[in-house]
């Protein structure tokens, strides 16, 4: 049951037959782990908190730097030097006191990540490096936890959804099999704020859809966003039977 306050707060959700009170209740029950509180995690966390996701766990180990403020919209100038997860947690609780927010202010070793996954219904990968992305993917495959992956640099974005609770789901490693390769990130390539914000926002949208039971148009697909033309390309991803993470081998 939703309280009178919740009925008012979420009234624009409740007007939608796709959400309604039952869907809002699902959002309230949901536990989401967001890894990375940068340009993707900022809008994703704000939207999920606003939407009433009942349990949010925020993970990052960075402090806020002045160069973050060009795109990481949770933060203000006066936050420079503070912990990203602690500042985000405070902002989210101010935004929505009805939800529970927990922060993990460290780089999680694999064992801790696995432990966190036992308590998560869904993971958003909002990180900024390939090694961490591969570790999150592997842990989500093993724990059978759905994973929504966002990435962006320059004027390009990538968005993927792998529902590892379903059998025969491909994984991030099927698509990008090497963690050692030189990959592009925001520090070495640059990024325009609304490009990474668009991808993070869509990670939040897909999360909300997942919990209210709406089918996703991007499961087992890679969406490429071109910020110059605003064109999207959609590619189907097949499970690689020889994948060292999710394959039979």
């Amino acid at each position: 049951m939703l309280s009178d306050n919740e009925l008012l707060r979420y009234s624009r959700h409740l007007l939608l037959e796709e959400v309604s009170e039952a869907g809002q209740h699902q959002l309230k029950q949901a536990k989401v782990l967001i890894i990375g509180m940068g340009g993707l995690g900022s809008p994703a966390a704000l939207y999920l908190a606003a939407a009433g996701i009942g349990h949010l766990v925020l993970n990052d180990f960075d402090d806020i730097e002045v160069s973050n403020l060009q795109r990481q919209i949770t933060y203000q100038n006066s936050d420079i030097g503070e912990s990203k997860v602690e500042v985000t947690k405070e902002r989210l609780q101010q935004l929505n006191p009805d939800i529970k927010v927990r922060s993990i202010n460290k780089q999680m070793p694999e064992q801790q990540l696995k432990m966190e996954l036992t308590m998560a219904d869904l993971v958003l990968d909002c990180t900024d490096n390939m090694a961490t992305r591969q570790m999150i993917n592997k842990a989500c495959v093993e724990a059978k936890v759905p994973l929504i992956v966002g990435a962006a640099i320059r004027l390009e974005g990538q968005l993927m959804f792998f529902d590892h609770s379903q059998i025969d789901t491909p994984c991030y490693h099927c698509l990008f099999p090497s963690s050692e390769e030189q990959t592009l990130n925001c520090s070495n390539s640059g990024i325009i704020g609304p490009v990474v914000g668009t991808i993070g926002t869509l990670q939040a949208l897909e999360a909300i859809k997942y919990f209210v039971g709406l089918p996703s148009g991007i499961k087992n697909k890679l969406k490429l966003f071109d910020g110059k033309t605003l064109d999207w390309q959609t590619f189907a991803i097949n499970k690689d039977p020889q994948c060292s993470v999710c394959g039979q081998a």
């Binding site: 990375g36 940068g38 698509l175 390769e181 030189q182 990959t183 592009l184 990024i191 490429l224 690689d240």
Partner: protein, 66 residues
């Protein structure tokens, strides 16, 4: 053989598989992903997957930023 690579027309001098195409185009194998007609081809299949006349090839890089 006429194909499209990232929406550019291209004529290949001979039949080739995806791995040979990347080498022909002087693209790095590491960090690249390849789709043929909007279907991602897993890297383990690159040396067996033959390009066909008229194929629409998409090449893109893994990006990690966020």
């Amino acid at each position: 053989m006429k194909i499209q690579v990232n929406e550019q027309a291209l004529t290949l001098p001979s039949a080739m598989n995806i791995e040979q195409l990347l080498t022909h185009l002087e693209k790095p194998l590491m960090g690249s992903a390849v789709a043929v007609n909007m279907q991602v081809i897993n890297r383990s299949e690159w040396n067996q997957y033959d390009i066909n006349e008229g194929d629409n090839i998409s090449l893109f890089q893994a990006i990690a930023g966020g």
